[in-house]
Symmetry: C2
Subunit: 482 residues, 2 copies
């Protein structure tokens, strides 16, 4: 087992980054979920989660995420100069149970006794020092073979969380692991109100500390079908550009189940580490408002947002070019993006998910799609669409390349506005630098590559009768896409 210089065990963070919540729409969407957004503070929630469990005493993290997010993960980690041990790609989201077991099995390949700290990547925990101290305090119990859950003292009769019930005599205000009587599933309002009055109940934050072999044994005992399927998915995993892709065939047999249901509610080696130093899962916009530190009038205003005679209101402008003005508002959440605007009463903020479902049912693209589309090589966004034309901004990461491709229905004009592009058109290669342009005729095989050290930005003007993303024939792709 790996140890630090002072003899305490090294802990490997296991960050779960595959969720796709829509409760913070329009910032969080299926194609760009909230953990990757900068909702509170200077980093994304994912970045803040990675930094919280980095430094002395922590090994580089293991990330479990979905295929659509893998390049967002690498890009966001690179920006905070964190290198993961592994990025495990789930072929499909199967809730937290399979994700945790996959990480445990991966870690156990080298060191079955490895301590792992499982944490969602979309929570806010403001006091990093207090959190690290709580983890360190709990580590010996995990080291000894217990599964440690972290319990948050409730501050409201929340019906959206599971609860942890301490054994009689245990102390919810203790600074050490306490014995657990059991898990309580999401309660109704009456039970939530009773639990709020009883200090033996804590919120289940979904954060766990345990040895890899402890977790594996629990899954083998309490969820053998899941255990065998995930074991098969890891055995059949293949390495792809630094990602570990779990085997889709085996994964198809993996049940969709949370770690709570799969093992925690059945295990008897559980203890609770109370954590009273601040926590939020940012489950709705009123939680963001609360976590972001309202001013004396109760308002939280982003840059470019202007509140006039407002109170207890959240105003967020999420576009560099959007001025947002609120006048005479009470308890309102307003979030403005270039393609979508949400205005909700704060007491109804938990209905955002329902609203997104209604949008999706009406075929509104903004329900799921994000204006910036992330690709392995960088990202693009549509600037304007006309009857027979479309203009995009395309940003290609240093060293990255788009696939060799052609289109049946459109020609493309490329104007490089930042950096240098290496452009291949029908076999001819040329360097195109800032303020130079290239024309790609309809049908021509072309490739775009950024050979430089800085991001390359180009404006693409497409013309043609059909401009859908699916008019693309790929010949070669370093990212192995069809």
């Amino acid at each position: 087992m790996t140890q630090t210089e002072n003899g305490s065990p090294v802990i490997t963070p296991v960050l779960l980054g595959g969720g796709s919540g829509t409760r913070l729409w329009p910032v969080s969407r299926k194609s760009y979920p909230k953990q990757f957004s900068q909702l509170v503070g200077a980093q994304s929630l994912f970045q803040a989660s990675a930094l919280r469990v980095s430094g002395p005493g922590f090994a580089p993290p293991v990330i479990v995420t979905g295929d659509p997010f893998r390049f967002i993960v690498t890009e966001q980690l690179a920006r905070i100069e964190q290198a993961p041990q592994a990025i495990l790609i789930e072929p499909e989201g199967r809730n937290t149970g399979p994700a945790v077991l996959a990480a445990a099995l991966w870690l156990a390949q080298d060191d079955p006794g490895q301590l792992m700290l499982v944490a969602p990547s979309d929570h806010v925990i403001p006091d990093t020092a207090a959190f690290r101290a709580a983890v360190a305090t709990a580590a010996p119990r995990a080291q000894a073979g217990d599964m440690v859950t972290f319990g948050i003292p409730p501050t409201r009769p929340e019906t959206g969380y599971g609860y942890l019930e301490l054994q009689p005599g245990a102390r919810a205000d203790a600074a050490s692991p306490q014995p657990l009587a059991g898990f309580v599933e999401k309660p109704d309002a009456a039970r939530a109100a009773r639990m709020l009055q009883d200090e033996r109940f804590l919120w289940n934050a979904g954060i766990f500390l345990m040895r890899a072999d402890t977790a594996i044994a629990a899954f083998r005992t309490h969820a053998p079908v899941l255990h065998d399927a995930v074991t098969g998915a890891l055995a059949g995993a293949r390495s792809d550009l630094g990602f570990t892709r779990l085997d889709p065939g085996a994964w198809a047999d993996v049940p969709d189940i949370s770690i709570d249901y799969a093992i925690m509610e059945k295990a008897d080696n559980l203890v609770v580490m109370p954590y009273p130093h601040g926590w939020s899962d940012l489950g709705s916009w009123d939680a963001v408002w609360n976590a972001d530190g309202p001013d004396a009038q109760g308002n939280v205003c982003s840059d470019r947002a202007h509140a006039i005679d407002c109170a207890d209101t959240l105003l967020r402008s999420e576009g560099t070019g959007i001025a947002l003005v609120g006048i005479g508002l009470r308890d309102i959440v307003a979030v403005a993006m270039p393609d979508a605007v949400l205005v909700a009463h704060k007491s109804q903020a938990q209905r955002v998910k329902e609203a997104v479902g209604a949008l999706a049912a009406r075929g509104v693209a903004q329900a799921d799609a994000f204006p910036r589309v992330h690709r392995p090589w960088g990202w693009f966004e549509c600037l304007v669409t006309g009857g027979r034309f479309q203009v995009k901004r395309i940003v290609v990461n240093p060293g990255a390349a788009l696939s060799l491709q052609s289109h049946h229905h459109r020609a493309e004009h490329w104007i490089v506005v930042e950096g240098t592009a290496e452009v291949t058109v029908d076999g001819a290669v040329q360097l195109v630098s800032e303020n130079q342009s290239v024309y790609v005729p309809l049908g021509a095989r072309h490739r775009l590559h950024n050979p430089g050290k800085l991001p390359m930005v180009l404006i693409e003007v497409q013309t043609g009768a059909y401009l859908g993303e699916d008019d693309i024939i790929r010949y070669e792709d370093v990212y192995a896409r069809d």
Copy 2:
């Protein structure tokens, strides 16, 4: 005096289109005021105002507007196939008094007895037939030398309007002109409440019917300084591309004063035509909500706006790509544009003007500027701005041309995406059609002309260290701009 076939006098509409209200920000801004916006119904308020007073019995209108709006006026009239008699350009806005006199003097050149119907171009009058009937009923009194004002029965204790006081015994519910006791300036709340209970008081709608020579005589008698200055400004006017530009030198001496203050409050040949058939000046967003016909829940939702459990709420998406969602709102106004979003409590909607002032004080461009910039030749909008680049969509009207110009600090790439452009670069002329591009190097003298029958659309990609609109040297300009 001109007459129709049945002998009744022909009436010339005088439409006042120079205002620049900000009470409906962000749709209405200094550079694109509300009369030109499509706020209620399928036309702009200006277009609806022009159509309301068109057809049998009406001569083509005289428009009085400001220089920045002259091409918006011609474009909007062309789209509804209305040709004006004249478009008078005020060198500076001077309120309604000088505008009305300028129109009267212009009409009196041909026919001093010409009946003119003065009307703002930013009001909503839903019942066109009733309005035309009221005008026809009032015409004989105007023909006889009276000045007819139109009075609206108050529906609330409004403090933002002037009132008309009928003489004792006059009937506010009469369908004929009634004798006037006097004008009441904007009242305080207590007086407005009293007047609401007293049927002798009507709102002053700012609509007047009178002969041109009647108006001129009133100004000569009651506002001689104004009369002489405006007479000089018309005498010195010059014709420019079909516009009549009042002389700026003489105009500098014109007082800034409303027609009410200048003559109406002093004249004794006034009568009131009650008009109870619906009227709104759309003075704030709650008036737009009211005029637009709320549904059973009291909501008004534009295309792309979605209300979930809202009541008495106005949701407007003003961009083709913006999805607007309201959840749990009561009495809220939300207006979303690509560059600006307003969210206000409906009871505070009249404070929008104050909010715009606050934005302007903070140097926020959106306070005054509109995303689409209208020019004599068409319009443009900025699609994206980067550190050293900017992308614009430019639309050039058929037959129109930009000035021959050059730039010190930027090069331009032009890609034609609709129609055909005739492009001149350093003396060389070429036709550029859809899907072709042209490069304009830094310093090159260039001109863009649309020789076709359809609007020409191009995407301009500018690159350079300075991209301000003021980096332009004009050599020749058909619109005589500096």
